[in-house]
């Protein structure tokens, strides 16, 4: 039986645990044994992006150590997967454990990437007809190189109509500390994203990243919009498992 590690990420751990559980269940349903190592905290991205690399490395090191076996590491986040896959090698450049970290980085996958590119899952839609829209996270696409995998999964669902955003690839304005360091610009971007999503007529905005979800959800909620946001893992699981 195929085995994988699951890395929840801090935002999913604290704000979207249902998405984390759904990700694990989607993998299990595809016949994969999921291991969730204890001791998970954060990939270290916030400190890395702010230039505090010693602090980021301290945290990253403890995380890499949780995944000793040569198994894929699956994350329900494009941004954190991008950090571990693309930026860890930069962060550990010239460090004594660089080789070990590089080897770890090659094993990192974002969840939908793994479901589509490796497992080639086929989904059967059990849900009611619904209209959704997809927000692609910048880091998932530009750092990690996600190439339509989430959309392909959504499109497998026969009762789901996916309406694209006018600016699918424009940043929602989250940007980690950017959202509180530059709240006015970040807020303006988030408001535009929310308006774009509302204009699609969809009832749910889906994404693969906790940061974007938190940002778009908070913005929609502040304007009392009926539009919901949901992590793609949770959405896929809800629609494909028999209750």
């Amino acid at each position: 039986m195929r085995e994988v590690y699951f890395y929840g990420t801090c935002l999913v751990d604290l704000f979207f645990p249902d998405a984390g559980m759904a990700g694990i269940q989607l993998l299990q349903k595809a016949g994969v044994k999921v291991i969730f190592p204890e001791g998970q905290t954060c990939c270290g991205q916030p400190a890395f992006n702010c230039g505090y690399w010693e602090e980021a490395r301290d945290v990253a090191r403890t995380q890499v150590a949780l995944f000793p076996r040569d198994l894929p590491v699956i994350l329900p986040s494009g941004s954190c997967a991008g950090m571990m896959k693309v930026h860890y090698p930069e962060l550990f450049h010239g460090q004594p454990d660089e080789a070990e970290v590089r080897a770890f980085s090659t094993r990192v996958f974002e969840l939908t990437q793994f479901l589509v590119d490796v497992l080639d899952v086929k989904l059967t839609d059990l849900g009611e007809p619904v209209k959704v829209t997809w927000h692609s996270s910048c880091h998932a696409v530009r750092d990690l190189g996600l190439n339509g995998e989430p959309q392909a999964l959504i499109d497998q669902l026969s009762n789901v109509e996916r309406v694209p955003l006018t600016r699918e690839h424009e940043c929602c304005g989250f940007g980690g500390t950017f959202s509180v360091r530059q709240p006015e610009i970040s807020g303006a971007m988030a408001c535009d994203k929310a308006a774009d999503a509302e204009a699609t007529g969809a009832s749910v905005v889906l994404s693969t990243d906790g940061g974007c979800l938190l940002n778009v959800h908070g913005t929609l909620e502040a304007k009392h919009s009926p539009l919901r946001v949901q992590h793609i893992a949770e959405f896929l699981w809800e629609r494909t498992h028999a209750r």
């Binding site: 979207f16 916030p46 890395f48 913005t219 502040a222």
Partner: protein
Amino acid sequence: MHAETDIHFRDAAAKALLDPQLRANFRRAMDGLIAKRRAQFPDPGDLQDLRHLSTAIRSRSLLNLPDLLEQFETNCTKNGIQVHWAETCEQANELILAILRSKGAKTLVKGKSMVSEEMHLNAFLESKGIEALESDLGEYIIQLDGETPSHIIMPAIHKNKDQIARQFSQKIKDAKYTEDVDELTAMARRVLRQKFLDADAGLSGVNFAVAETGTLCLVENEGNGRMSTHVPPLHIAVMGLEKVVATLEDVAPLYAILTRSATGQAVSTYFNLITGPRGEGEMDGPQEVHLVILDNGRSRMYADPQLRATLRCIRCGACMNHCPVYTRVGGHAYEAIYPGPIGKILTPQMEGVGARHDLIHGSSLCGACAEVCPVEIPIPEILVRLRREATHEDAGSNVVGRGTGRTATEDWAWRIWAGVLKRPIVYRLASWFATRFGRALPAGAPLIKNWTQTRSKPVPARRSLAERVRAEGVPHV
């Protein structure tokens, strides 16, 4: 100091965000430019090939920079172009003043040059009694109002037709009020052609400098660049020292990707190759051509293997056209010569990373800039590097103002952050508290207050994923 400067860009941006007209002007203009660029690259494979080639050409040129500069200088001199070197903007200004004075020149017409903006040349010359008149239509428009460019390619992009119509009717002699773009353009033509005719000297920038032939390449649509460089008896060109490439063959793909990336044009109206002053038997062209090569911090960027990529820039402006921040706040909010993503990495390297800490953090690191950059400058990566430089003093770094953006508050915040996250047991405790009591945090708490300006308060789940996993029996080693 850091806190003060952080507020700087935030304030200017916040003010710009409140101007719906400005936001609409920029959004419309950027949408147009994005669509036009996309139409120029119908084949993604061709685009990537052309980008890789352009990147390789710029990288090669930089690797050979000192040799190419010397070869370029030798060939320019052979062609009759007089070459001058300036380490600082101040020196460059003095050099130009001296050249103008040696010819008794009182009036200077200018083609578009961002390096001359960098030097604040116009103000300097005015203070010395020499008229420096911008002749690019966009530059002319903003000079009439004493403004600076809000975009490196389209300097007056922040203004709409009505504003320009009002301005022309007030500031141009015998001008009537009209919002007709052709009529407005005709007014500027009338004024400026007389200026070209009368000017004692012309000034231009340089898009590419060719070492092998000693040639200055100028890209333009209006013809004011040709007017400024061919009509007056004296032509002075200014360029950053990074502009040189080995051969004219190298220039061809750079030129092809420049106009397509910048304005979505397959080709500009004019591509002007200047290889000397008026030659033997020629009836026109300037009697003298001078070139000022400016450093102004570039040799310092050059010394750093990662930051050197900044110098690959060919000033197309595609990064700003695609930037979600620039699109919303416009160019002036940056309070810098070069706005947008390239400005965010260039300005702090010139003015100091501590002093412009605001700009370095004015990015969500979305990467739209790097995605379209024709010479693949990794702008987000360099931003992260400069964020580090602003708060650290790493051995071997030569970045201006390194470490001066550091504050005890931020240091402590990251120390505590790491202290919690590198100890799973502490994190477990913290997440227990967050899930139980996080919702009770007031919306006005520090940082949360910034978040809740436009958003509802983030509310943690009642049980963390780790707790759920333990409770629901996922194998957890």
